[in-house]
Symmetry: C2
Subunit: 435 residues, 2 copies
C-alpha cells in the first residue's frame, strides 16, 4: 500500500488520547477505508511530562512548527479555546493542510473566517465533534438536509447541565447541591462556568444555526441564560404542570420559510432553561446524553440522539471527519463546505415570541387575580391557563401564558414584582413545546 | 449566474412529483447552495396522460433516450423496482452522469455492481431516500461513523408494518383486521406483500449492513420473516411481560469487533417481528415513523428518528443528495463512495444467537413443567423466566429463554409441539433488547 498520510495531533487530553488510541487500534480498517494508511507524525502538548503513556518521540511543545512541517498532511485540533488554536488552524490552511477540529468556541466565534481560509487554500475544515459529541449532526444538517428548508433546531447539547437538571428532578435537590454532586462525580469541571452559564451550549447553538439556515451566526448573536437560577421550586412547579426543566438550545428561522430567503426572514438563536412537556421527545433525554430535534419543511420532524461528550464518543466524531478529509486528500479534492449565502438578520430576544410559566404567592383576597390578569393585559400578553391554590390568607397563582414577545413577558414579570398584592414571584421559566 | 444544471427525472409518482415541486419552490435556495441553478430537463413516465399537472413538454415515455441526452447532467431515479431502473442507471453512468436514487430493492440486489460502475465513470451514486425516508442515516453511517467500528444497527424501517403492529397493540385487533384498516387509510398498498412479508425491510437491512460493516450484503443474505403470523395473542403476551411487538431489521457484526476485521468476524442480518421492552427507545416509535438504533465501539449508542415514508419526506432526502451530486459536479469532483473492503461472511440464521418467548397451553398436572424444561435442556437452551398460570385442569406456561442459536430454539419449539402434555403452542416470538 502507498505511503501513509501523516497527521499532526494538536492537544492530547481526554479527546486527543482517545483519538490516538483509535488511530492505533483501527489502523488496518482506517487504511482500507481511506486507501492509504494513517500515521501520527507528532503530538503538540504544553507539558510533555504529563503524557507518559504517549510515544515520547512524537511529543513536541512547538505546535506552530509541527503544523507547518513538510511531513504533516492533515491536522487534528483538539486543544479547545480560541488561542493558540485559531492561529494554528490558519497556519495549517496556509500550508495547504485540511483540519479536523472539535473546537466549538472557535468555530462559533470565527466560523466564516476559518471557512474562507480553508476554501481559499482548497482544503477541508470539518468539526462534527464540536456539537453533540458522537451524534452525527453537522454533516446531516450541512448535506443530507441541503435540499430542504429548516424551520427549527432544538437541542439538549450540554451534558453537564442536563445531568444537573435530571438530578434536581429526581431528588428534589437545589442547583447548588446537584452541581456539587456533578462535580464530585466528574460530570462538571472544577470551574463549571462554561457549562452552567450556557456558554458551551450557546457556541453549539451558533454553529447549528449557521449550518441549518445557511447564514453566519456567532456566539455573540445567541441570547444566553444558564441554569444557576433554576430552583427546586421551578423543577417542582414544572412537574405539577406535566413538564420537566431542560436547558435548550433553540435555533429558529422566523418568517415564512419556504418563501424566498431574502424577504424579511430572520433567525432567532437562544439558550435558556425551559419547561417542556414530559411527552416531548426531548423530555426523556436524561443524564449526560444529548439530543437534537429538527423540523424541516419537507422532511418533517427528525431527532438525533446519543452521547454528547466523553473521550471515546468525541473521538469517534473526530475520526469520522479524519477519514473524510483523508479520502478527499487521496482523491486530490476537497469536500463541500457549508454555504452562508443567506445572510439573515438576527432577531433580538426581546422580539422573539416565547411563552412563560409564572408562579406567584399572593394575598388570598377578592380582586387579586383580576389585578394580576390586568398586568398581563397591559403588556398585551394573553393567558393560557391559571391555577389558584388557597392556603390560609395566602394563595398560589400558577399562570402559563400564550406566546408573546419576550420583552412583553419580562416587563409583565417586573410589574408583578412591584404589585402590593404579590408577596413573591416564586418561579419564572419559559415554556417550550406546548401546543 | 452560470448555466443551469439539468436534471432528468425518472418516474413521477408520489415521490417524483414532490421532488419536482421542491425543485421549483426552492429554486433560489438550491441555486445558492449549489452554485448553479437546477432545471428539470425531462420527466420519464409510462403514461403521460396520467400526469396532467406536470409541464407537458417535459414528459417523455422514452426514459432510455432521456438519460443519454446531451443536455442532461444529472439523473434522479424514483421509478423503483429492478427494471428498467437498473438499465437506466447503468446507462447514466456510462454517459458520465451522477445518479440519485430512492430504489432500495435495486440497491439491495446490485449495490456493488452499481457502485463499481459509478466509480469507473467517476460519478456519484447517492440513495439516502432508499432507507428510512427523510431520516439522514446512510450518509452518517457511510461518513460520520467511518472512523468507528459498528457493532449493531437495529431499526424500525417499514412504516406500514409499524402502523399495523401499533394498531394491534392499541385495539387488540388481529393482523387481518389491522391490515384492512391500514389499507383503507392508505397506509398499506393494495398488494401489501412487500411490506407485510418483510421484503421492503429486508432490502433496507441489506443496505444498512453493507454500509455499516463495509461489506457487501444483498437482500438474499437477509433472513426474512414478515408479520402476517403475528397474532392478537402474541401482542397480548408481549404486553404481559412489559414488551411490545415490532418488526425489526437487525444488522450485527458477530465476533469481536474492534479486532482486526479479517479474523473470523461475520455479519448476521435479519428481519423478523420481535418483542422488545416498552422501555427500549424503539418501543415508543409509533405509527408510520421510523427509527434506527446504532451501537458503535467508540460512539456508543445513537438513535435516528423521523418520517420513514411519504412523498415530501422522501423527496427531502432525494433533494439533499441532488444538492450533493450537483455540488460535486460543479466542483468537477465526485464524492466519496462507500467502501466494501471487509468482505465478511454472512452468518446463517440457524447459527445466530436469539432469545425466544414461548407461550404454551399444557395439562395442569405434576411433571409437565419438568418435561417441558427437559425439552429446552435437550437442545442446550437455557431458560430465563417461567410463569405458570393454572385454570381448571389446564395451565398456561410462559417461558422466556436465554440466548441460544436460533436452530436450537426452533428445534425446541418443534419438539414441544409434539409433546402429549402440550395442548398447544399459543405464541412464539423472538425477544430483543432484554438485558
Amino acid at each position: 500500500m502507498s505511503a501513509p498520510l501523516r497527521v499532526a495531533l494538536l492537544g492530547c487530553g481526554t479527546v486527543g488520547s482517545a483519538v490516538l488510541r483509535l488511530i492505533e487500534d483501527q489502523a488496518d480498517d482506517l487504511a482500507a477505508r481511506i486507501g492509504r494508511p494513517i500515521e501520527v507524525a507528532g503530538i503538540a502538548v504544553r507539558r510533555p511530562a504529563h503524557h507518559p503513556d504517549v510515544p515520547q518521540h512524537l511529543l513536541t511543545t512547538d505546535s506552530a512548527a509541527l503544523v507547518r512541517r513538510d511531513d504533516v498532511d492533515l491536522v487534528v485540533e483538539v486543544i479547545g479555546g480560541i488561542e493558540p488554536a485559531r492561529s494554528l488552524m490558519y497556519a495549517a490552511f496556509e500550508a495547504g493542510k485540511s483540519v479536523v477540529s472539535a473546537n466549538k468556541a472557535l468555530l462559533a466565534e470565527d466560523g466564516p473566517g476559518l471557512h474562507a481560509a480553508a476554501a481559499k487554500a482548497g482544503v477541508d475544515l470539518y468539526y462534527e465533534a464540536a456539537v453533540a459529541g458522537a451524534i452525527p449532526l453537522l454533516r446531516p444538517l450541512r448535506e443530507s438536509l441541503a435540499g430542504d428548508q429548516l424551520r427549527r433546531v432544538v437541542g439538549i447539547v450540554n451534558g453537564t447541565t442536563n445531568y444537573i437538571l435530571s438530578r434536581m428532578a429526581e431528588t428534589g435537590a437545589g442547583f447548588a447541591e446537584a452541581l456539587a454532586e456533578a462535580t464530585e462525580l466528574g460530570y462538571a469541571e472544577a470551574d463549571p462556568t462554561a457549562d452552567v452559564d450556557g456558554f458551551d451550549a450557546a457556541a453549539k447553538a451558533a454553529i447549528l444555526a449557521s449550518l441549518a439556515f445557511h447564514t453566519p451566526v456567532s456566539s455573540a448573536d445567541v441570547h444566553r441564560e444558564g441554569i444557576s437560577a433554576v430552583s427546586a421550586t421551578d423543577v417542582a412547579r414544572a412537574a405539577e404542570i406535566g413538564c420537566t426543566v431542560k436547558l435548550l438550545a433553540i435555533c429558529e428561522r422566523v418568517g415564512r420559510a419556504g418563501d424566498d430567503a431574502a424577504d424579511g426572514d430572520s433567525v432567532a438563536v437562544r439558550v435558556h432553561p425551559a419547561m417542556i412537556p414530559t411527552t416531548h421527545p426531548l423530555a426523556s433525554v436524561g443524564g449526560a446524553f444529548n439530543a437534537v430535534f429538527v423540523e424541516a419543511e419537507a422532511a418533517g420532524q427528525l431527532m438525533f440522539y446519543g452521547q454528547g461528550a466523553g473521550g471515546e464518543p468525541t473521538a469517534s466524531a473526530v475520526l469520522g471527519d479524519l477519514v473524510a478529509v483523508a479520502r478527499n486528500r487521496v482523491a486530490g479534492a476537497s469536500g463541500q463546505g457549508p454555504t452562508g449565502y443567506a445572510d439573515l438578520a438576527v432577531r433580538p430576544m426581546a422580539e422573539t415570541p416565547t411563552r412563560y410559566h409564572v408562579s406567584l404567592d399572593v394575598a388570598d383576597k377578592p380582586g387579586v387575580l383580576a389585578a394580576v390578569a390586568q398586568e398581563f393585559a397591559r403588556q398585551d400578553v394573553s393567558i393560557s391557563t391559571v391555577r389558584q391554590t388557597g392556603r390560609g390568607d395566602a394563595a398560589t397563582l400558577v399562570i402559563v401564558t400564550h406566546s408573546a414577545p419576550d420583552a412583553a413577558l419580562s416587563a409583565t414579570i417586573a410589574a408583578l414584582r412591584d404589585m402590593p398584592a404579590v408577596r413573591g414571584v416564586t418561579s419564572v421559566l419559559r415554556v417550550e413545546g406546548l401546543s
